[in-house]
Amino acid sequence: MSVMIAATARPNDQRFCAEPVLQLSGLGLHYPNGKQALSDASLEVDRGEFVVVLGSNGSGKSSMLRCIVRLLEPTSGTITVARQDMIRLQGSGLRRARMSIGMVSQHANLVRRRSVLANVMCGALARHNGWRTTLGILPREEAEPALQCLEHVGLADLARQRADTLSGGQAQRVAVARALAQRPQLMLADEPVASLDPEAAGDVMKLLRRLADEGLAVMCVLHQPQLAQRHADRVIGLSAGRVVFETRAGSIKSSDIDQLYGKRAA
């Protein structure tokens, strides 16, 4: 698996050592209805670091992730991913930049009637912009790397199975494998364990932790402070679109949690 991450992020490459993979600076987002989703939000995620963003519903966590991948257009600030200014990118440039960002959502969003392997191979489509993939044919040369990605998430034996036969936890791990097939430098996870039981949630969190240990920059949005403390390196608290605290995962205080969720969560 290290082959896949190393393909885009070599340990000796000074670009990756010197600068954070993700830099947000003064990020702001106004929805057309006037709601301020993000306000002057700034943060960084380094290579090999696992950062968890905590916050209550409507605090702007998901909006932040959607701004990074440009599903939402921020109204102010800058977003830099692996030295690329995301805000300026359009068309094929934006597609190339998205290829370097893996994203896992609350739902796995797999194509239900296709095999697990085919779903993972879809993660590599952007590298094969020929007539075959345009006609719906999967690039055969991506089968082996896709299998490696599945092996990495512990599901290689389910490669030929249809995606709609998987459990929630398995589907989420396949979604991670699909993101890995992109050979990303940054992995974003938007409440990836929200619909999973505690055991499956733990498996997904351990997997994200392992990816960070292997050199990927991982940023994960969560609601569970306990999971953040157990698996993350650093925790960022978001409230009303603002970063209200930033701390090492081991040093998180109950007052920090109160600040986000009120007294009940403490």
Binding site: V69, L71, R95, R96, A97, R98, M99, I101, M103, S105, H107, A108, N109, L110, V111, R112, R113, R114, C122, G123, A124, L125, A126, N129, T133, T134, L135, G136, L138, A175, R178, A179, A181, Q182
Partner: protein, 268 residues
């Protein structure tokens, strides 16, 4: 209940007077509509009773079916089936791009959405028989006119149904592939098509079933097939031939219905 609340309600059960009045008016309106429909359509059940002897006479004259006519019905039956196949297959092929433009969630531009929605509404609102009359005038008598009529009407029906399937599909995989950096066409072929294909195939099979019935009827206006044979035999009062043709139509329709139901079950 307080005195004020009690004042608001009438003594009819526990319901307010306004609700009772509204129900009464709705019931009266339904009776009025059904009543006027009965009068305008000239419904007279007495005539049905007195005409029973005529129906019985036709049934007697239709028995036994003239099975000797069967060899002559092979070609018209093949024609009828092929008109339905052509109308369905070409209709499906044309409907897919139309549906993509007419689905709000994937259409490339809103004006195209309104344009294609208008087009499929128009194609659908003109009955198949009218399309057949137009094409008989344009390309002459024969099965091709019927096939074209089925194509036009099928695009009207399938264009809308396909668009609804696309609009109802799970957009999660589309977003997921967008975020991998895939192109629009790759997203369409790798996420949209696999997501909607079972729905489209099911609707297409159902459409073939419908088109087969329609292709029998289209023969009545000169579009060939077994319908044309049925009309000719009726005009010549050859009721024994009519009965065997009706049997063939029955076998065709039931066969298509069962076949398409079987295939639909296998798809889903």
């Amino acid at each position: 209940m307080s005195a004020v609340e009690a004042d608001k309600k009438d003594s009819v059960g526990n319901r307010p007077l306004a609700a009772v009045l509204r129900n009464f008016l709705v019931t009266a309106l339904v009776f009025l509509i059904v009543g006027q429909a009965t009068v305008i359509s000239g419904a007279n059940f007495g005539e049905l009773v007195t005409g029973a002897s005529g129906i019985a006479d036709i049934l007697v004259r239709a028995m036994p079916p003239a099975f000797g006519k069967l060899p002559d019905l092979v070609w018209p039956t093949v024609e009828t089936i092929d008109v339905a196949i052509f109308g369905t297959v070409v209709g499906v092929i044309l409907s897919v791009p139309v549906a993509v433009l007419a689905a709000r969630n994937v259409t490339p531009a809103l004006p195209l959405y309104y344009l294609t929605r208008g087009l499929v509404s128009f194609l659908r609102s003109v009955p198949e028989l009218v399309w057949a009359l137009i094409f008989v005038a344009a390309v002459g008598l024969g099965p091709f006119a019927g096939a074209l009529a089925l194509v036009f009407h099928s695009v009207g029906m399938l264009g809308r149904l396909f668009a609804e399937v696309i609009e109802d599909m799970d957009m999660g995989p589309v977003e997921a592939l967008t975020l991998t950096g895939a192109t629009r066409t790759q997203i369409f072929t790798h996420a949209v098509i696999p997501g909607v294909l079972p729905g489209l195939l099911g609707i297409s099979l159902y459409r073939f079933d419908e088109n087969l019935r329609s292709s029998v009827l289209l023969g009545f206006v000169g579009a060939g097939g077994i319908g044309f044979e049925l009309l000719s035999s009726m005009n010549l009062f050859e009721y024994r031939e009519v009965s065997v043709i009706v049997l063939v139509v029955l076998v065709l329709v039931i066969g298509a219905e069962r076949g398409s139901a079987l295939l639909r079950r296998r798809i889903f």
